[in-house]
């Protein structure tokens, strides 16, 4: 979308406590030509912020308990002693479903046309999916790293207590795992936990 497009003036508020995801969404909105974007990392005085910013669209991740604070705006004409524009979601059911499954929810100021919001929603949902994949990969890497550390620790214990060299220590772990039908990392974890227990 060209920056000259009138929609670049749409005021968008992004509420996300996760700094990486927040940056991804912010960059996505900037790439799409939206310039009036505000990001909030915490939800202190959320209603006050919304009053001052007067956004057209609010994007909030589903991990944020302050979603219920936004819900109140549907209902209450007098949350603070000033009026707040009513927010409703004009998306169709499939769009709402896609957003919820990706982990994000949108609130859209009453009267704003559906077509104007659609590119924002689609981009956000895509980036949330990308972030979810990134997080899953990161968890996997972290898990693998942790397992390697545990195996190293277990090897060290065996080397010290049984006088084995490193290769023999690993061989013992591997054979034990095979005999028990377990993963090497699990056998190593069991050994490390037992030793920790005995120390206490």
């Amino acid at each position: 979308m060209a920056p000259s497009d009138p929609d670049s003036a749409l005021k968008i508020l992004v509420i996300d406590e996760n700094p990486i995801r927040r940056a991804i969404i912010e960059a996505g909105l900037a790439d799409a030509g939206f310039t009036a974007v505000t990001v909030l990392s915490n939800t202190m005085r959320l209603i006050d912020h919304i009053y001052h910013l007067d956004p057209d669209v609010v994007l909030i991740d589903l991990e944020n308990p302050s979603r219920d604070v936004l819900e109140q705006m549907f209902q209450v004409s007098r949350v603070v002693r000033r009026p707040i524009a009513m927010f409703v979601d004009k998306s169709d059911t499939s769009e709402i479903k896609a957003a919820i499954e990706a982990g994000v929810s949108a609130y859209i100021v009453d009267g704003l046309k559906k077509e104007r919001v659609k590119p924002i929603l689609e981009m956000t949902v895509m980036r949330f999916h990308a972030f979810n994949r990134l997080r899953a990969e990161l968890d996997e890497v972290k898990g693998a790293l942790k397992e390697r550390k545990i195996v190293e620790k277990a090897k060290g214990i065996l080397m010290k207590s049984r006088g084995l060299d490193e290769e023999k220590a690993y061989e013992l772990l591997r054979k034990t795992a095979m005999a028990q039908g377990r993963r090497i990392a699990d056998v190593a974890q069991a050994l490390v936990s037992s030793v920790d227990l005995l120390k206490e």
Binding site: R45, I47, L62, E63, N64, P65, S66, R67, D68, V69, L70, E71, Q72, F74, Q75, V76, R78, V79, V80, R81, V88, D89, T93, I96, K97, I100, E101, S105
Partner: protein
């Protein structure tokens, strides 16, 4: 687990996905899953912990969940199209009664004591009048109005708090500010002075007292004994396709509720709920409201009340249509719904007593002979204001209320509610 998860026909048990909010009264779902009441009925509960009621509504709506731990007004709000539009949600049983409490900041507690040094007396009304005096004193001094927190617009907490304030002559829409604060943030909001008091479910009141940030001045069980709180919300389309499963789900949860109402089991329940995947707070703060002893802080006497939260006894699981009707009167009273509708028809559509009766008939659980009762009319159901709610004359009840939203035209409702 592998064997237990098999269904009665030897295949894998069907999974039922259920959302819950980490509160003491999510216990029926947690206990049904932990103690295997689900597997005894041939299905497997998969629990999803959520952080907001909006998530619960949306994930139930889009089919991420089949059912959920819900605030009793939520299925009614969905049917009325209030808030974000959602498909039909029905309540085939109630999960718990009571359970909430009203907590005030130490500063407001001092103001209340200055207004009435006996504000500490139990019962709720004396405390409400002391708050009313504090409200008036602030108005006379030109100070900022008090701000109260609750958890969701369509919650019993909202209506409990409003009912309590209005009973003492405080107009909750004009004399004070009411805001939503998520429960995990509410004790800190109290300490920081962003709210002066709140109504929330347990164990969050006890957390505020334990951390020295607040004083409990009233319990829901005092305001209205055996009053509605959480229901099982089920997506109607899913219930229609899976009638046997829904019946099994109701029976499993009723069995869990019956287990939970054995006084000897409440400690064990607190131990289970304390686990990080469930409520994830100290066992002791969960145990106090569950075992019926509440330390209230300040000069307040401890509240010893086995009815602080009720899971089964006294027909607690029966989805009383009179409860639904009372909740609808509150939505009208506070201007949440202006468009006239047929209250009785909506209660019948959402609070599915037929599904409850059908499901529990096989397990020998007693059911009431009627679907509605006059609330406040007997020892089992008492309003602290002494009034009575006749579900057959809901508009008459509304009309008698002095404090209510001025924009609502009750005559327009009369045409649809003869």
């Amino acid at each position: 687990m592998g064997i237990m998860a098999k269904g009665m026909n030897g295949g894998e048990a069907q999974e039922v996905h259920a959302g819950f909010i980490p509160l003491a009264d999510c216990a029926p779902l947690v206990i049904a899953s932990e103690l295997g009441f689900d597997r005894a009925e041939g299905f497997k509960l998969v629990l999803h912990r959520e952080v907001s009621w909006a998530n619960i509504r949306d994930k139930l709506d889009v089919g991420s969940f089949d059912c959920a731990h819900m605030l009793a007004p939520m299925p009614i709000a969905a049917a009325l199209g209030l808030g974000r539009a959602a498909g039909s949600i029905i309540a085939p049983m109630a999960l718990s009664l009571n359970g909430n409490a009203i907590t005030v900041s130490l500063a407001l507690y001092d103001e209340m004591l200055r207004a009435d040094e006996r504000a500490t007396l139990a019962g709720g009304m004396r405390a409400a009048k002391a708050v009313a005096a504090a409200v008036r004193a602030r108005q006379e001094q030109g100070r900022e109005p008090l701000t109260f927190g609750m958890v969701y617009p369509f919650s019993c907490h909202n209506y409990d708090l409003r009912y309590w304030l209005a009973a003492a002559g405080v107009d909750p829409d004009n004399d004070v500010n009411l805001i939503v604060v998520p429960p995990p943030l509410i004790a800190d909001a109290l300490k920081a002075g962003r709210v002066d008091g709140f109504c929330v479910g347990q164990p969050w009141n006890t957390v505020a007292v334990t951390e020295g940030k607040g004083v409990i001045v009233a319990t829901k069980s005092e305001l209205w004994t055996l009053s509605p709180e959480k229901v099982l919300g089920v997506r109607e389309a899913w219930a229609d396709r899976n009638p046997a499963l829904v019946a099994g789900l109701i029976r499993a949860l009723v069995a869990a509720c019956r287990w939970l109402d054995e006084a000897d089991n409440r400690r064990e329940a607190a131990r289970i709920l304390a686990q990080p995947g469930y409520v994830g707070l100290a066992e002791e703060v969960i145990a106090r409201p569950l075992t019926g002893t509440l330390i209230c802080g300040g000069r307040q006497a401890d509240v010893v009340d086995p009815d602080l939260v009720v899971f089964h006894r006294g027909f607690a699981n029966f989805p009383w249509r009179s409860h639904a009707l009372w909740l609808m009167t509150q939505m009208i009273r506070w201007g949440q719904v202006r468009e006239p509708f047929d209250l009785k028809a909506l209660a019948e559509q959402v609070f599915r007593t037929d599904l409850y009766r059908g499901a529990v008939a096989a397990m020998g659980v007693a059911v009431p002979a009627v679907d509605s009762k006059r609330e406040g009319a007997d020892a089992g159901s008492v309003f602290f204001g002494g009034e009575m709610f006749d579900p057959g004359a809901a508009l008459v009840y509304l009309d008698r209320l002095v404090i209510r939203n001025a924009g609502t035209d009750l005559n327009a409702f009369s045409a649809l509610n003869p």
